[in-house]
Symmetry: none
Subunit: 230 residues, 2 copies
């Protein structure tokens, strides 16, 4: 048995397509026609992934997504939506969605993304958290702790932090950060970057005035280093 996928979608034709798609690949499928029903099924069972339509009768898909992530954040949620609904990818991050596919979608793409999400979380579960210094970070659950105490980070801060962790040692210019973290269609001033760095330092550095991990490289940008090595 490959696993179980929970489909929450009101259009019966799409449900039919999805059921055939996933069962053909060896997955078990449970389907719900409303957000309420989807949430109940989510709580009552242990899906390996959720395919969720954002447009649902009754309860908004966004609410459903948030509720699911609140309950068990490690279960990947792939959002299904019209293009206009995901113009802002940051929104999806705030919802906690792991990936999204726009309608009209290619069944093959959806399948690929669902499988990729399942692989990712399996990997994440086995190696639960990244970290540096006395900071521990769990991106799957969007949780962070410093010296054992929980730290609250916003969606943007997580995204920025992740990019730093993925590119240690390298000097990242403000433009590069704006493009990769804020997105290509957003053009805030470069001061915004400094501000977010400030936030990260205040929350994650032992001594924010003398940053050890989030270092500034004058005239170039910022650099993340795991620890002080002499």
């Amino acid at each position: 048995m490959m696993g179980m996928i929970l489909v929450t979608e009101d259009d019966p034709r799409i449900v039919k397509v999805l059921v055939r798609l996933f069962t053909a690949e060896g997955y078990e499928v449970k389907s719900a026609g409303t957000g309420k029903e989807g949430l109940e099924l989510f709580e009552a069972s242990t899906p390996d992934a959720v395919v969720l339509d954002l447009m649902l009768p009754g309860m908004s898909g966004r609410e459903v997504c948030k509720a699911m992530k609140m309950s068990r954040p490690e279960v990947p949620v792939i959002v299904l939506s019209a293009i206009s609904e995901v113009a802002d990818k940051v929104l999806l991050l705030e919802l906690g969605a792991d990936d999204y596919v726009t309608k009209p979608f290619s069944p093959r793409e959806l399948l690929a993304r669902v499988q990729a999400a399942i692989r990712r979380t399996r990997r994440a579960v086995s190696r639960p958290a990244a970290g540096f210094g006395d900071v521990q970070i769990d991106f799957a659950c969007m949780k962070a702790t410093r010296a054992g105490k929980p730290i609250t980070l916003t969606a943007h801060e997580f995204k920025l932090l992740r990019f730093f962790l993925e590119n240690p040692e390298r000097v990242l210019s403000r433009d590069e950060l704006l493009n990769e973290v804020w997105g290509y269609n957003a053009y805030p001033s470069t001061r915004t970057v400094d501000n977010q760095i400030l936030k990260l330092r205040q929350k994650l550095e032992e001594n924010p005035a003398n940053p050890i991990h989030f270092c500034t490289v004058y005239g170039a940008g910022y650099r993340f280093v795991h620890a002080t090595q002499e």
Copy 2:
């Protein structure tokens, strides 16, 4: 030298815009009006990135993309297309395209995506640390060491150093250095160059008074040599 970008696009107006966009950023641009021509240019030269229109006369842009990826997959391809053409994103992945921008596109976004793609491939392929004598330099991290000890260099010094490393043995006049390193819009006095050379010598030469690598050519400029050969 920033690199070369191959533009394959049949609309001359767009070509003109792209040429201006990339040359303004310091890239060299080669352009092809048809898919066949683009492929030939791709094979005959070594572009750092390709901007490819999907709608081309003669040969389909998809075929071109596939052929390029078959030949040298490490060269990033950024696809330019109308929205309807990329409704199916999985297609782009099958083609092997690295990224895409939909028409009508924002020049700034395209530039950002191309640069990001180039950075990614550079990161993935290799980052051979340059060096000379007992000096090791990592430009991506903006770190340098001499005899194992870390040396702090400013952003400007790195830029100058890189230009020297890219043009070894050649005599570089002060004017050339000012244009290439300081930029075409800055006109400091030529004494500024001497000063920066002094800094490089003090930081990187074993004996700053008798420079081995950063040699002055009286009445002409400076020359960089990797090592002393007897």
